[in-house]
Every structure is written in structure tokens, then in C-alpha cells.
């Protein structure tokens, strides 16, 4: 394995067996576990913007920097504050958090599941108490990003080296013909996240301990004009923007219906806090 430091976006030129590396809090453990393989690591910290300037947050900004910034909406700050552990927030970047893989234990143990190219979702018939209750037909993995839920509720858009897109379009529910959960092309680099003017916002998180756990359910709500947008973490294979059907569309598995109870309570609470 080689490591190369990119000095410009144009100079990235990733090969098919290259991996982009910034904070490394996700990529390094996955490399060491044999889930990711690479012949070349490209350190992109020199080319990905870092820092907060007005409504634009560099994709290389660490969660710790966002957490301590007075200039970001409450939901985002709280999502960062409750994410991962202090050391991970010190190193982990905004882009890394948005692009992290599921915490599904089958996936992390490299079972030949659909996301790994296999033909079964082991969680659906197996142990799935922490898994998806929405869009879980093909793959029941739950997306763990607190930050993505907050940004989704805040109506963020994402700037890559190739395009600008609403955050919702960064994600896709994995399907038989395309197992990926993001729409990024190989080597496409996330550069920044742009926030529209924000009203009041809030992030509430249910986890199995008080800190340093991924969300069982995370609920972000943000006021935008007269309406409120609500997005959830931990309930679907992608961060979930709550539509007009609310949680009615949910298809809980035998062992995770309790998540809907939590989600219902937190959505109600988050909306009340927007008004309160």
C-alpha cells in the first residue's frame, strides 16, 4: 500500500484501487478489518476545505470544530456533540461522517450480505433490534449519521468537485441493481456543505448509553419558513427525510418495532421544541 498526498483536486486522479483518506476514523478500521482494500491511499486533507465560513462548511471540518462553533444551527451542533467520541470528533471530518458505512453487525463482520455483493440480508431474519424500520425490504441496515439527519432537516446542499446537489440526493436506498447507498462516483470528492438560512432547529437522539453510541433513533427538526422539516437517523438504510406520510410507511421487523415508538415520541417532541 502506498500513501499519496493530493495537492490539487485536478491532481487526485484516483485509480480503481485507490481510497481517499481524510480523518481516517472510518477508513483505517475498515482497512484493518479487511472490509476495505486498497493499493493506494490518497490523503485529501490538503485539497478539501476545512472551516466554517458563513453558510458554507468545509467538508474537511472536524466534528469537534463544528460542535464548538457558535455559527452553526443548533440541530447541527447538537448532532455533532452527540456523535461518536471526543477523540473521533477531533479527527473525523464532516464528509467522513456523511459517507460512513452502516453499523449493521453483519456488514461490519463482513458477512456476504447484499451490501457486500451477496444475496441475503442476514439482519432481516436474524438479529435486527438496531436496524431499519423504513425502506428495509432489500437491506435492513440503518444509517448511523446524526449529522446527516441534522443537515437533511436543515435543507443542506452538497458541493462536490463535479456538481452541487441537495443532500437528500447524495443518498440512495440500495437496490438489486446498485448496492451502493450514495450517489457519489468513484473518486468524486465532497468539498463543502451549504446551509440555507435557518430558523430554529433541534436534534434529539436515543441511544443505549448516554454518550458514544450510534443512534437507535435520531430526530432532527428545522423550521423553514412556515413549515418544519424533520429527518431521522438510524431508521432506514439512508438518512430519512420524513415525508407527508410520516412514519405510517414504516415496515418494522419483528424485533425493532420499538424504534417506531421512540421515533414517534421524539418527532412530537422535536416539533414541540421548534414551537416552544
Amino acid at each position: 500500500m502506498k500513501l499519496r498526498r493530493a495537492s490539487s483536486v485536478a491532481g487526485l486522479e484516483p485509480a480503481s484501487n485507490s481510497l481517499l483518506l481524510a480523518g481516517g476514523t472510518e477508513v483505517v478500521p475498515l482497512l484493518r478489518a479487511g472490509i476495505l482494500e486498497a493499493e493506494e491511499l490518497i490523503d485529501v486533507r490538503g485539497v478539501v476545505p476545512r472551516g466554517i465560513s458563513g453558510p458554507s462548511i468545509g467538508a474537511g471540518t472536524t466534528l469537534a470544530e463544528i460542535e464548538s462553533s457558535p455559527d452553526v444551527p443548533d440541530a447541527l451542533r447538537e448532532a455533532c456533540r452527540l456523535a461518536a467520541s471526543p477523540q473521533l470528533r477531533n479527527t473525523g471530518t464532516l464528509a467522513g461522517n456523511l459517507l460512513q458505512s452502516t453499523r449493521c453487525w453483519y456488514w461490519r463482520l463482513n458477512w456476504p450480505c447484499r451490501l457486500h455483493g451477496g444475496d441475503a440480508c442476514f439482519a432481516r431474519d436474524g438479529e435486527h433490534r438496531e436496524h431499519a424500520v423504513l425502506a428495509n425490504d432489500y437491506c435492513a441496515s440503518a444509517h448511523p449519521s446524526d449529522v446527516a439527519a441534522a443537515l437533511l432537516a436543515l435543507g443542506a446542499t452538497v458541493q462536490t468537485d463535479r456538481r452541487s446537489l441537495p443532500l437528500a440526493e447524495l443518498y440512495r436506498v440500495p437496490s438489486e441493481d446498485d448496492r451502493r447507498s450514495t450517489t457519489l462516483e468513484h473518486g468524486e470528492l465532497l468539498l463543502s456543505v451549504e446551509l440555507p438560512p435557518a430558523g430554529r432547529s433541534v436534534y434529539l437522539k436515543a441511544m443505549e448509553r448516554k454518550r458514544w453510541a450510534f443512534p437507535l433513533v435520531g430526530v432532527a427538526a428545522a423550521r423553514s419558513g412556515d413549515t418544519a422539516r424533520v429527518a431521522l437517523a438510524g431508521v432506514a438504510p439512508v438518512p430519512w427525510l420524513l415525508g407527508p406520510a410520516g412514519l405510517e410507511a414504516a415496515t418494522p421487523l419483528p424485533g425493532n418495532a420499538y424504534k417506531l415508538e421512540i421515533a414517534t415520541a421524539l418527532v412530537k417532541r422535536a416539533l414541540a421544541q421548534l414551537d416552544g
Binding site: 481516517g24 482497512l31 484493518r32 491511499l41 477523540q87 479527527t91 454518550r211 458514544w212
Partner: protein
């Protein structure tokens, strides 16, 4: 070949890409005060300061900290926090303790009088299986005594 300053001493590290900072510290520099308890970035035992910030050395590639200033527990041996941990009995088996102290030092360097909530927030990434937590909190609260 990455070069780092560890506790004020400069080293050029000859290691394959993929080698972690923790492996370099322990195996190459024999600084075994930095412990590896999970090797996956989940427990905090391997915490060291990189340019003053607590990071998990077991998932930090040594090649990605080229040029950095690294401080390990060996570089903090005379810090008052060490004495405070012993005085408060903030350690039992001691295996997580160097990592705890590194995180605690970083906390008080930026916030010399942290509240209980601030301590709990800043130290939540340093697990302790013996459950020395109440006394860790006390050691951090009273570190200047």
C-alpha cells in the same frame, strides 16, 4: 519516510504504509505507556496528543501524521494530572489510565476548571472497565490541588 516529534524528540520512521501511530510508538520507539486495548478506535486507551489534540493512535496511520508533534503519556509524566490521578485513586488496573490522563490533560489545558458535565462530555471516549470513573472525575476536578 514520515518524521515526527515525539515528546520533543525527532524521529524518522521507517514503516510500511498502514502502520499505525500506536504500533510505531510501542514497537519502534518502545514507548509502551500508550496502550492498545481494542485496536479499532473504540476505547480510548491509545489516546495521544497530536499537535495538542487527543487522537486515537491505534487508528491513526503514522504516515498521515508526518511532521506532527506527538505527546504520549511518557511526555506528561511530570504533569500534575498524573499526581492527581494517584491521589484520587482514579485508577484500578491502570491499563486505560495513560489514555485517560492524556485526554484529561488536553481538557484542562483548554478549560482549567471544567464542570462535571464538561468532564463527562470530554472523557466519554475513554472507557474504563474497572469503573474508576467517579474518581477520574474527581482527579480532573482537583488536578491543581
Amino acid at each position: 519516510m514520515p518524521e515526527l516529534a515525539v515528546n520533543g524528540h525527532r524521529y524518522a520512521v521507517d514503516a510500511p504504509v498502514g502502520t499505525t501511530l500506536a504500533e510505531t510508538l510501542r514497537d519502534e520507539l518502545t514507548l509502551t505507556g500508550t496502550k492498545i486495548a481494542c485496536g479499532e478506535g473504540q476505547c480510548g486507551a491509545c489516546t495521544v496528543l497530536v499537535d495538542g489534540t487527543p487522537v486515537l493512535s491505534c487508528i491513526t496511520l503514522v504516515h498521515s501524521v508526518d511532521g506532527a508533534e506527538v505527546t504520549t503519556i511518557e511526555g506528561l509524566r511530570d504533569h500534575r494530572m498524573v499526581e492527581s490521578f494517584v491521589r484520587a485513586d482514579a485508577l484500578q488496573c491502570g491499563f486505560c489510565t495513560p489514555g485517560q490522563i492524556v485526554s484529561a490533560v488536553a481538557l484542562v489545558e483548554s478549560n482549567p476548571s471544567p464542570s462535571s458535565d464538561e468532564i463527562r462530555h470530554a472523557m466519554a471516549g475513554n472507557l474504563c472497565r474497572c469503573g474508576a470513573y467517579p474518581k477520574i472525575e474527581e482527579a480532573i476536578r482537583t488536578w491543581r490541588d
